[in-house]
Amino acid sequence: MMRHTISVLVNNQPGVLQRVSGLFGRRGYNIESITVGESEELGLSRMVIVTTGDENTLEQISKQLYKLIDVIKVVDLSANPMVARELALIKVNAEPAARPEILGIVETFRAAVVDIGPNSLIVQVVGDSDKIDAMVELLRPYGIRELSRTGATAMTRGSVR
């Protein structure tokens, strides 16, 4: 089973996320993550969906997506060199004595501390999934109170379309 990252340009209409996610659900396609936001063009949104499946499944996903009237363009980003990023906020236990160690990890990962509480920190990390997984593993021994990840957003490198 291959992992694929698909970019879907859609009309920014109410219910469009439901149409897309519903299609995946009822046809038995997997969604590892889905992110949605505005695109470069007013009125259009871009969804980035990470899914798994063989080549036939990927082809069907693309064809079925194109059947939705609100879907304008579907691109298999992972067919070309691409940049994929996700963001995570990690609230980690941090008594004052433990903070220097944690800050050391944060600095190494080029992450950032975005909030400091009496005995906790919120760490913000941006990167590909592996980097975030690694960061989470390193912070786990200190006690992670809360973790929130966005799922990947992505685009192909350079001028490949």
Binding site: Q18, I69, D70, I72
Partner: protein, 582 residues
């Protein structure tokens, strides 16, 4: 005096001219005007709270033809029958909540069979949406998987564009139902109405003309093929491509099998026609597919009722070509070597310009021998009235000129097997969803769309009871549908499966307690007839044909009859049970 008769009659041109004038009117009036401008001549519906402004706008508007059914399911199946038999878009209207949810089965039926419908539902006022208000249902959400597209109208100014787009989407590309949900306040708001012409929907550009290189590949494969077979489906009928298909078959000399939805798309009398393939297909059709070296699917989607077990489907095939307007169908179930995306009519028109025959004469002799040795047959030794006999009688007396609608079950398969089809759009049947209750109301729509044709609705005693209440609208509107009931007093297809697959363990199939169908018809003011022998059957059918209005004919048949050939679920189409023919 009826208000409607007070309006002076005007010509269609005068009416259209008036409707095109910009005017300050309500959303409801915009809807009615837009529907007329789209060429809609009959709407099926049922009023309720959320669509009262719409129904109020209809009051006294004699140019708008609305038929009040007795259940929303009747309305949408009627719209469906209208659409399938005419090629135009069927329209139905229902209120919010239960009215809208009663349409769900009909929407799914149309979606599975690619039937163009515009379904109008009312909804609670916009400020109540999402509050679980009285008779509120999220019908756009509920129907998302079973519509081609849907709209929830939030601004009355969008209404003209949305209606125009809905008709365009429903009736282009791969056709299908489009839902427009109109909140009550939107139907009441006034705005300046200017008719919309032209449509531009970014992201929706169905491919009509095929890639010519792909068609050339197909033609080359045909010339090389020794054992080619065409599987033609509903797409041929919907694209109005019957003539092109006949020309293609004559030029290429390829034996052809038509799926349930494709049956009327090719004349049964043609020498190269092998019958229907699949679960209840003919020996000749299934054997031809299993031995073919080239299969060409034309407007057919390799449904599991056709292919049965996929890993045993067409084991000798070297190439599969697939012509379909919906690219997502190509490669969905069966690996395709030559994909041709495009409108079936356009593809065949282009292919016919240079099609050459396959090397198929020996093959044709072989498949024709199979057809002669294993024809469809049934045990017709005694005077017992057999269901197949009834279908043959209808087929002969109508000369294949009637429009036949069927419900779902054994009678549907017998109609598919024993009725000889001649003209496209002369079979209206629920293929994909297999919807019981479809047969009779769809005939009402077919009759309204084809007032000069004979419409025969063939039903079982089970399915006819799912929408029998629509006899009322046949009676009061004198809609002359001939309602045939093949009455075997059981759920026949279920009984057949329980006999063959579940070892005679008959569970809850006895329809004892069904009404006396003659009296039921009479209770609605419709003529009712009954036949229990062949002679009575001929007499009753003759009387029905000679009766100008609607007639219900109850053909009482034995309950033990089965549909053969039959391929059991999980078997390949080589594994046909032949029944009496074995």
């Amino acid at each position: 005096m009826n208000v409607e008769t007070q309006q002076p009659k005007r010509s269609k041109e005068e009416l259209m001219e008036k409707l095109r004038q910009p005017d300050h009117i309500t959303g409801s009036e915009i809807l009615l005007r837009s529907l007329l401008l789209e060429g809609v001549d009959c709407v099926f519906g049922y009023p309720g709270g959320a669509v009262l402004y719409i129904y109020d706008a209809m009051h006294g508007f004699s140019d708008f033809n609305h038929l009040l059914t007795r259940h929303e399911q009747g309305a949408i199946h009627a719209a469906d029958g209208y659409a399938r038999s005419t090629g135009k878009v069927g329209v139905c209207i229902a209120t919010s909540g239960p009215g809208a949810t009663n349409l769900v089965t009909g929407i799914a039926t149309a979606y599975m069979d690619s039937v163009p419908l515009v379904v109008i539902t009312g909804n609670v006022a916009t400020n109540f949406i999402g509050t679980d208000a009285f008779q509120e249902a999220d019908i756009t959400g509920i129907t998302m998987p079973i519509t081609k597209h849907s709209y929830l109208v939030r601004d009355v100014n969008d209404l003209p564009r949305i209606i125009h787009e809905a008709f365009h989407i429903a009736n282009s590309g791969r056709k299908g139902p489009v839902l427009i949900d109109i909140p009550k306040d939107v139907s009441a708001q006034k705005t300046i109405f200017e008719p919309v012409t032209g449509v531009s929907i970014r992201g929706y550009n169905p491919t009509v003309q095929p890639n010519k290189l792909q068609v050339d590949k197909l033609l080359k494969a045909i010339e090389e093929a020794e054992r080619p077979v065409i599987i033609a489906g509903g797409g041929v009928v919907y694209a109005d491509a019957s003539e092109e298909l006949i020309e293609f078959v004559n030029k290429t000399r390829i034996p052809i099998t038509t799926t349930l939805l494709g049956l009327s798309g090719f004349p049964s009398a043609h020498e190269l026609w092998l019958g229907m393939p699949g679960m209840h297909g003919t020996y000749a059709a299934n054997t031809a597919i299993q031995n073919a070296d080239l299969i060409i699917s034309i407007g057919s989607r390799f449904d599991d009722r056709v292919t049965m077990r996929l890993d045993g489907f067409a084991p000798n095939v070297k190439k599969i070509a697939h012509i379909d307007v919906d690219p997502a169908e190509i490669g969905k179930n069966v690996k395709t070597d030559i994909p041709v995306v495009g409108d079936v009519k356009a593809v065949l028109e282009f292919a016919n310009t240079k099609a050459k025959p396959a090397k198929s004469e020996a093959w044709i002799a072989q498949v024709q021998k199979n057809a002669a040795e294993f024809p469809l047959r049934y045990n017709d030794n005694n005077d017992e009235l057999k269901p197949q006999f009834v279908i043959e009688m209808i087929s002969e007396t109508t000369g294949g000129e009637a429009i036949v609608t069927t419900d779902v079950g054994q009678h549907q398969m017998w109609a598919a097997q024993f009725y000889r089809f001649k003209n496209p759009r002369s079979l209206v049947t629920s293929g994909g969803l297999g919807t019981m209750g479809f047969g009779f109301p769809s005939a009402i729509g077919a009759q309204l769309g084809n007032p000069d044709k004979l419409v025969v609705s063939i039903n079982g005693d089970g399915g006819v009871q799912m929408c029998a209440q629509e006899l009322a609208i046949c009676a009061i509107n004198n809609i002359p549908v001939k309602v045939v009931i093949i009455n075997n007093q059981v759920l026949g297809m279920v009984r057949q499966w329980q006999e063959i697959i579940y070892e005679n363990r008959y569970s809850h199939i006895d329809l004892a307690g069904s009404p006396d169908f003659v009296k039921l018809a009479e209770a609605y003011g419709v003529k009712g007839l009954r036949a229990t022998t062949k002679e009575e059957a001929r007499k009753a059918w003759k009387e029905a044909m000679e009766t100008p209005g609607p007639v219900v004919i109850d053909f009482v048949v034995p309950k033990g009859e089965n549909v053969f050939p039959m391929v059991k679920a999980g078997d390949t189409i080589s594994d046909m049970l032949m029944g009496d023919a074995e």
